[in-house]
Symmetry: C2
């Protein structure tokens, strides 16, 4: 990351963020620190200019109507973490954490250290504010997206943070689906942070520093690294491939399709959530070795598309609409009645489309030498029930023989923070 811009150069008023958390983290030696408060937009402009010639220097604004990382062109790498609040955390702890996280995210997304004193600019007798592994790296299109899980509002019947009454009805545990094999330790979470960047070191740096800031107030419950995005959200992106070798996300909602975003992705309410969304997270283990032993025609039949081009089996090219009525020479449906592309298609699901933002993952191997690989499925929608509808439609999906859902979580994604405010502020107004 770039050296911190001296606070004096900022013409934007300091956002009213509490520094309590960071100061608490830094401990006694931090008294002399000047923690600057720079508006993300001003910083972004400076950094974007400096990095204009650098492809990985893409900078996305942190403040705005919607949080970045949803409609933003999907980046190459992901580090995702679900957090739980500490048992004795208070409402003030939660508010200060969201403020501190927003402040830090508004800086890191602009290619800056986590605070104005950063990795090397503070007192030499204090621990550095920033852990330093991203020093010298550009912003790399980093986006940081915060979410709030159902248990944050009420857990075991206890309203720990005085927000139980504000939980949207739509924010609740997903129902159990046929075939689920969920690991509780890799599911759920009271808060989440999705860090996406075109450099994995930048994404890891973000999660690490946000985890550090949370120390004493919240801790990571589970986390995941992903690579090889499996969706496109920008028309100039090539459709990527999942680990079954098929193009994924051909018909995904594009980030500049305002109408589809309004209809399908942004939540209308309650008021504190308007302009936000809901995130569904599913860790889907792919049984790649059995898949790899299937013949090509069978793989194509299961997906409903051709492996090479990604065209629907009813004909055409990747972007031809599937013709589910078309019959093959034998009089059978060209696209199998239980093909993945058919069961998931909006035509059979009340027009529902999800904005997908998933990533491939490989987490070592099991004792038999099989890669522990799969799809870290992330979808944004205006109501989690939309995901439920599609997931239930996939009950007879031919693909189910080759996949297993091992993790699950759902989060409300607040709208973007206004300059000088923080993500989730509306919840406490």
């Amino acid at each position: 990351m770039s050296e911190p811009v001296p606070a004096e150069e900022s013409v934007v008023p300091r956002p009213g963020l509490s520094r309590r958390g960071l100061l608490g983290l830094l401990g006694a030696g931090a008294g002399g620190l000047v923690v600057g408060g720079l508006g993300g937009a001003a910083i972004g402009a400076a950094v974007a200019t400096a990095n204009a010639a650098d492809a990985t220097g893409v900078v996305h604004p942190f403040f705005g109507t919607h949080q970045a990382g949803i409609a933003t062109p999907v980046q190459a790498n992901l580090h995702f973490a679900a957090f739980d609040m500490a048992d004795d955390a208070t409402r003030d702890d939660l508010i200060s954490l969201l403020k501190d996280w927003s402040y830090a995210a508004s800086r890191m997304t602009q290619g800056l250290d986590v605070s104005a004193t950063g990795a090397v600019g503070g007192s030499p007798d204090a621990p550095p504010d920033d852990t330093g592994e991203a020093l010298g790296l550009p912003a790399s299109a980093l986006t940081i997206t915060f979410g709030l899980g159902p248990d944050l509002f009420e857990k075991n019947g206890v309203d720990r943070f005085g927000i139980a009454a504000r939980r949207p009805d739509a924010l609740k545990l997903l129902p159990r689906f046929v075939g689920d094999a969920l690991d509780p330790a890799a599911s759920g979470g009271e808060l989440c942070v999705q860090a996406c960047a075109d450099d994995p070191q930048v994404a890891v740096h973000a999660i690490r520093n946000l985890s550090r800031i949370a120390f004493g107030r919240a801790q990571i419950r589970w986390s995941k690294l992903g690579f090889g995005r499996t969706s496109k959200t920008s028309s100039d992106q090539l459709t990527p491939r999942n680990l079954f070798g098929y193009k994924d996300g051909t018909a995904n909602i594009l980030g500049d399709d305002e109408r589809a975003l309004d209809e399908q992705v942004w939540a209308a309410g309650p008021s504190w959530l308007a302009g936000g969304s809901y995130l569904v997270v599913r860790t889907i283990r792919q049984k790649i070795e059995p898949w790899d032993r299937q013949q090509l025609t069978e793989q194509d039949r299961i997906i409903g598309r051709s492996k090479g081009e990604g065209a629907p089996l009813s004909g055409g090219t990747e972007f031809t609409e599937p013709d589910f009525a078309k019959k093959d020479a034998a009089g059978q449906p060209a696209i199998d009645m239980h093909a993945h592309v058919r069961l998931a298609h909006p035509d059979f699901n009340h027009g529902i489309r999800l904005l997908r933002r998933g990533y491939n993952f490989v987490d070592g191997n099991d004792p038999l030498g099989s890669l522990n690989a799969g799809l870290f499925f992330l979808s944004y929608q205006s109501d989690p029930q939309r995901f439920v509808t599609i997931q239930r439609a996939l009950r007879s999906d031919l693909l189910n023989e080759y996949i297993q859902h091992t993790g699950s979580a759902v989060f409300a994604i607040p709208p973007g923070a206004k300059q000088g405010s923080y993500v989730g502020a509306g919840l406490f107004a």
Copy 2:
């Protein structure tokens, strides 16, 4: 990856590689497959031209004096796998596996599918040769480097493959070091494959397909993904940072320093290994949370360099030689007697330098919410004893309080394969 080049276009004779393994893998339906044999150099030339304008289209030759992936400029991403041979594997199995691996690697490193029929060009009634997730992706500077572990030569006193007499004395288990906390399931291995690329999907595709080719002959024992290379091996690379936030590899051996490579990296013998090397692998868990709580001066003292610039504490810039005799104002050594940079320095280790090629890793988190993070240390040297000498010198390293070695392995790295031959051929001559 690019569509397979039709075998007819090749002007290079087919290398004499057995197709037995791949044919066996493909099963009965594979009888009609034409498995092409293209020389890597010819393919490389074609692909390099096609991708000339694409930064990730860098293509490294597979065949040559040395294996690629050692002196090659270090890439952004790593997938590493250690394999064990099947209990009932024969000498012929081992030879055919090394042939098949070399054939597949000679193609994938050129941006091609694993065979001429590839992901979609074979019989539709057969499983595809290639798993397909890298279709359309360029070579991405992929290198694939093969190694042979001590147990391959003799295990529990049994000479399974008739090569026990050819084991170099230098190839043996590393001694136990102070503080080692090794996990046997994440250590050792009879074979290893190091896949490095500038796209993680390309590196994963390589390991996955090589594992598939090995089916029935060998299986993955343990594996690791890495990102954020922690060394530079090319003078035009910026020095990267490890997860302690410090520049790593400032004084590393560069890939074009022929004299240093000859003196320090390439093995002189035995004859089948001449021009090869030895690879030492150490999984080093970094205790990043305690580290992050240390004051900056203490972090600098432990490393012996400044965090921002990476200059030795004796003064100057990153590339200034450390002056270990220099005293500070208080009359104490400017660089602590137990600083990492001092204990590891060639001046105190008989001039020994290692060619390091390590990567950062983050494998989720532990139940307390700490990131399971660290350095996947890879070093190449002409004799593993050189690593042992330095590792023993680090016995009193101040850094030891913050790290723990949890995995260990050593491999002989054969020289590069000649066009038409395979890696390790000399061992069976």
